[in-house]
Amino acid sequence: MIKILFFAALRERLECEQYLLSCDGKILNVATVLEQLRNRCNNWQQELSRTDLLCAVNQQLVPLTASVQDGDELAFFPPVTGG
């Protein structure tokens, strides 16, 4: 299982905070996971196609070319606005 988290405006627009994805023990590419999520519905397609989307694997910022596997925590979120 990969635990997928969404934050802030993205979480609200997807109406989803956490999503569990089975990966059958395979190592996946973040971009591949994202493509799978986009196919869920039109709204997800649109929201997850934003070019400013940020991604973290196990709480570290990574590019979409990073890989994920069983037990990983994957997160997607909009540009950060703290400080």
Binding site: L5, F7, A56, Q59, V80, G82, G83
Partner: protein
């Protein structure tokens, strides 16, 4: 070199942070930055809520402090960021640096704020008379990183 990082809903006290920072041996300079909730230009901001990614925020702040420490000789770095609901004029963020010389303290403090603005997973939602709005990231914050690269 000591690093102190906190993500908390409680307010922080600049005076206590400063008093700790100035204790650092061979410290000749202390620079502090405090970020406050600003009123909107039309004066309709009731409050704002700061959401974060628990666990990742602390790691991100420590990573930024360590990057600063690798670039410059620092005595101490304190970073505090609040989460939850804040009203206009309340304190949001504190960054304090103790070092031997001033140029290093200024550079490290500004470096940490620039990276925090772009890399630490916090998001602001404004609650105004017209409704609730997620704050948009500013191009100027992204631009600010380029000078450190």
């Amino acid at each position: 070199m000591s690093i102190f990082v906190a993500v908390q809903s409680d307010d922080f006290c600049v005076a206590s942070e400063y008093n700790e920072l100035r204790q650092h041996a061979s410290c000749g300079a202390v620079v502090t930055f405090s970020g406050l909730v600003r009123e909107l230009s039309d004066n309709t901001l009731h409050s704002m809520t700061l959401e974060h990614y628990p666990g990742m925020t602390e790691q991100a702040l420590i990573a930024i402090a360590e990057q600063a420490q690798q670039r410059w000789q620092l005595g101490a770095v304190h970073i505090i960021h609040r989460v939850g609901t804040l009203k206009p004029h309340q304190q949001i963020v504190f960054v304090g640096i103790a070092s031997a010389h001033r140029a290093v303290a200024f550079a490290a403090c500004e470096f940490i704020m620039d990276y925090l603005k772009n890399r630490a997973p916090f998001w602001k939602k404004e609650h105004t008379a017209q409704g609730d709005y997620w704050v948009e990231a500013k191009a100027s914050d992204k631009q600010a990183l380029t000078r450190w690269e």
